[in-house]
């Protein structure tokens, strides 16, 4: 299930108090990415927001279990455009040149285009897995052909 920042934002206090260090909207983005915790917001734990807090906990629950989710790539749909290869932060971390749009030449990356289609060669390096456990979905979001599915 995809969680959008807007959906989260609607349930936040929307006071922009910045006690968590962010505006409510950017806090919402961080929550969807798994980069912040609900408890970072000092208002949410107060009685008046209890209902919203519980709802948010429910919505964000699947994200905290991101390591149990998977990544599927349909090679029949893939055209080897390399959008996933270049957009993937784990790929960039593995090979610096990938950040500049150059296809990888090593074996450390998550995605590499081989024989015209993208292959997942190191799924365990995906940021959705521990230790990061970030709800990153950029490969799925920017796939031209919807060949990538995160479930």
């Amino acid at each position: 299930m995809k969680v959008t920042p807007l959906e989260i934002y609607k349930l936040l206090p929307q006071t922009n108090c910045k006690e968590c260090g962010e505006t409510c909207m950017s806090f919402a983005v961080k929550l969807t990415l798994g980069e912040a915790k609900l408890e970072d917001c000092p208002l949410l734990t107060k009685e008046e927001y209890k209902e919203n807090y519980e709802k948010l906990k429910e919505i964000l629950k699947p994200l905290t279990e991101a390591f149990e989710t998977g990544l599927r790539l349909d090679e029949e749909k893939c055209t080897g455009c390399g959008n996933c290869v270049i957009v993937c932060p784990a790929n960039v971390a593995a090979e610096k040149e990938v950040a500049r749009g150059t296809g990888p030449k090593g074996d450390e990356v998550v995605f590499r285009v081989e024989n015209g289609v993208s292959k997942i060669i190191n799924l365990q390096r995906c940021r959705r897995f521990p230790p990061d456990r970030i709800n990153c979905r950029v490969c799925e979001e920017y796939c031209y052909t919807r060949a990538i599915e995160i479930f």
Binding site: C78, T79, C81, A99, R100, G116
Partner: protein, 422 residues
């Protein structure tokens, strides 16, 4: 693995790795499906191996002698193709046309050769794709769908890479697509402007009017809902460096001159407003830009050059099609192109009545109907040479394997034909 330059399209990707074991391709890294097909087809048993004369196998020497003979005895020869050839081969094509006092034209005269010519006349800047990578924060695909034509355009250069002024890649850039239908490129675009067919000029005029501070409050603009249009305009006004990549959707439909001129006016208007803007065509064939540039350098004209007189001539309204339809030619030499499949019936019928000589590496309808077919090597795989990338950057192509026995590059075949003319 061997590093090579892919000739699948005019992006000329230089980060492709190929593994060859026992004369077979066993792995290709980083090339898209188009590039892979191109590389693999050079190893295919379906490629052309033998020269033929009216369908009968002959030796390479006989084929070259026969070709030279036909060309020498022709009244007027059309020499055509070359967007899938190296710069060196294009030069030889021009030289041959000059020798024969023939007519030289390339596929670019039907493609973006026209756009490049107009852009140069309008004195538009021609930045490199690397500049776009580093600085452009708003990419617009207009009548172009790189998701299906230039698969790696966005990932290698324009949208996803992190550049100097766009450190977050796609998150630092705005992506807009303008087309007459929902395209796969639109799936990842922030602004999806679906216009009604043929109404490009109307949209451009509305954008220009907004830039000049005159707002249009119509329900929709060229079919684009006002809400979508305004969202796009807001982002456009906040951009620092806009790159417009226009495709055949702009020049392949009605009145390309009018649309292009308007588009270039928009480029100039944005620059006037301190928003840097550039426009580049999405050339298809890997050396379309080379066909344009080399012809220009060798003859002073971009395409459609007539050598009937001592000096080369070119006229605005004349290209090989208009001359063909007037019955000006009796012989045609086609290099790396398949006009019988790709051109309209009326033109194809005219071509089929000419004495045809075809140089190609793979079977095609034109090759199958030609009087003399000469198989050639795959440039960029079996032969080196240079080509121009879609932004005009010169790229050295690589030879990674030898061609099959007795098969030469198109450049070498053209040299041999020229030698045989004497």
């Amino acid at each position: 693995m061997i590093r090579t330059v892919c000739t699948g399209c005019s992006l000329l990707c230089d980060d492709v790795y190929v593994k060859i074991e026992n004369g077979k391709i066993t792995n290709i890294w980083n090339a898209c499906l188009l590039g892979v097909e191109k590389i693999k087809s050079s190893f295919s048993k379906q490629r052309l191996f033998h020269p033929t004369l009216n369908g009968r196998k002959i030796s390479m020497e006989e084929a070259i002698e026969n070709a030279a003979d036909v060309l020498l005895n022709s009244r007027k020869t059309l020499i055509y193709g070359f967007t899938n050839s190296s710069n060196e081969a294009i030069e030889k094509g021009v030289e041959l046309a000059e020798n024969l006092r023939g007519f030289f034209d390339t596929t670019s005269s039907l493609c973006h050769g026209y756009s490049l010519n107009l852009a140069s006349r309008e004195k538009l800047s021609n930045p490199s794709l690397e500049e776009v990578l580093d600085f452009s924060d708003h990419i617009i695909y207009w009548g172009a769908n790189p998701a299906e034509s230039h698969h790696r355009h966005a990932s290698k250069f324009t949208v996803f890479p992190r550049g100097k002024n766009v450190p977050e890649g796609i998150e630092s850039r705005v992506l807009t697509s303008v087309d007459v239908r929902q395209t796969k490129t639109m799936r990842i675009s922030k602004h999806k402007l679906v216009i009604e067919y043929g109404r490009d000029v109307e949209l451009i005029e509305a954008i220009m009017s907004e830039l000049k501070g005159k707002s249009l409050s119509k329900g929709n603009i060229a079919g684009v809902p006002l809400k979508d249009f305004i969202g796009f305009i807001n982002d456009l006004k906040n951009s620092n460096y806009v790159s417009i990549f226009y495709g055949l959707g702009v020049i392949g439909t009605n009145n390309p001159a009018q649309k292009l001129k308007k588009l270039f006016q928009l480029v100039k208007e944005l620059n006037n407003q301190q928003i840097k803007c550039i426009a580049l065509p999405m050339s298809g064939h890997y050396n379309m830009v080379g066909a344009y540039k080399v012809t220009l350098m060798k003859t002073g004209f971009p395409y459609a050059v007539d050598f009937s007189n001592n000096s080369p001539r070119h006229s605005e309204n004349v290209n090989f099609i208009s001359q063909l339809l007037k019955g000006k030619f009796d012989t045609m030499l086609v290099v790396g192109s398949d006009p019988l499949s790709s051109l309209p019936r009326k033109v194809a019928q005219k071509i089929s009545k000419l004495r045809l000589i075809v140089l190609d590496h793979s079977p095609s309808l034109t090759a199958s109907k030609s009087n003399i077919t000469i198989p050639v090597a795959f440039t960029g795989i079996e032969a080196g040479g240079a080509a121009y990338r879609m932004d005009g950057k010169k790229v050295e192509l690589t030879k990674i394997v030898d061609p099959p026995e007795n098969i030469y590059s198109d450049e070498e075949v053209l040299i041999k034909i020229i030698e045989n003319l004497k």
